[in-house]
């Protein structure tokens, strides 16, 4: 019974840790907009956590710059299992306008498995909420898979 409750709770209370890897702040602002009264992602139990140790979902925005590469790797490592990685915006996927720059070492797939990628420059808050909601479902699946 507990297993079921836990697995169900996984999707109902995903805590987010946000990593900025050289983003232009556009996506960051939209992510913050998601938890404002207008969009209110807390309806689904989303909460911004202060440390990767508490996080379930790691949200990455920005192309991966060479400076932030190691930091990102360390932060991702410190998140406890089960965890889900979500990328916001086009930058982590393709590099967007920063592609080809000497200091950009994207895309994110090179370093970690990305579970949900939210495209757009910048994605709308509605899109972000949907992406995060899907991430929460993936979290539950991962937890169920862990038990087996």
């Amino acid at each position: 019974m507990f297993k079921k409750i836990i697995a169900k709770s996984m999707s109902k209370s995903p805590w987010i840790y946000h990593v900025n890897t050289g983003s232009c702040n556009g996506c960051d602002i939209e992510l913050v907009a998601v938890i404002t009264p207008r969009y209110d992602a807390e309806r689904f139990g989303f909460k911004l956590a202060g440390t990767p140790r508490h996080a379930d979902i790691v949200v990455v925005s920005g192309p991966i710059t060479s400076q932030s590469k190691d930091r990102l790797a360390r932060t991702l490592e410190q998140v406890p299992e089960p965890k889900v990685v979500v990328s916001i915006g086009s930058c982590p996927q393709s590099g967007n306008v920063f592609k080809g720059s000497y200091s950009v070492e994207g895309p994110l797939e090179k370093y970690t498995h990305v579970d949900v990628a939210i495209a757009g420059c910048t994605p709308k808050p509605e899109a972000i909420i949907e992406g995060l909601y899907k991430a929460a479902q993936i979290l539950q699946e991962k937890r169920e898979a862990m038990e087996k």
């Binding site: 836990i6 109902k12 807390e42 139990g45 140790r53 508490h54």
Partner: protein
Amino acid sequence: MSETVVTMLTNAFSVLVFPGLLFVMIVGLLLAGIDRKVLARMQKRKGPPVLQPFYDFFKLMGKETIIPDAANRRVFLAAPIIGFVSLVVMVVLIPIGGYTPFGITFNADLIVMLYLLTIPAVALIIGGSSSGSPYAGIGISREMVTMMAYELPLVIVLLTVALKVGGGSFCFSLGEISAWQETNGALITHWELIPAAIAFLFVIPAEVGTQPFDVAEAETEICEGPLVEYTGAPLAMFKLNTAIKMFVMTALFTVLFFGNAVATEYLALNALIVVAISAGITVLSMTLAHAVCARLKIEHLFKFYWTVVTALAAISLVLVWCL
């Protein structure tokens, strides 16, 4: 022989089910949920479901527990459990609606309550300290300063109540304070104690560590302070501790300022009344402040408690002493 068995069973029941472990877990998490829901409504949000803290708790139970290399493993794991257990024991000691499961001789005393209240905070501090993180170092220092800040007004409020009830004789027992109000009316209706009650309302959020006074666990500046390295089940325990503290503090308020004046003959009804009053106080003292104020700086917090709140409590003390 059978009598002892029955006594033992009732005792075990009161420790493990009501008003102990199970009851307090459910009520504490429920209060936390109400707090979050009402807060959201105050901010014109829809807000999370009332059961959200339960989801959080169970989710954290299902996460991996990482013990950092720098941490002292034993202390790191023991700290949340110690804090939790002492909170549960404290709840058993608080006479909810005059109900004392272990008889009056093992009733709570004001000073004992004061000291038992420090144990969860100390557990948080020691646990955070043992994790070896510098963020936790700053967090525990803030937690400790917060504790020093609210302790002074809390002490004065408790002594004021004891003076009022004792009236020239010595009275520290929560049970007596509770019973006194049955004949003399709730203490909240005695006008000279109203400043003390307000001071106590201010003490509650600092003791629990909710928004304007949560400098110790400021997630945006010091990454959750003492909790920075905690994951999984121990973190769930700490979250549960915070929730239970809400109930303990509000129940203490109920006993001190309403006492048996609101008690009826039926235990279940009493429990319901106490939970209802607790929820009301939670909204009044914690949610309202959370919605209205931004987080204070630690030195402002200290100054606030040692001036405004202490002054309120001291006014009551002097009034009670003089009258």
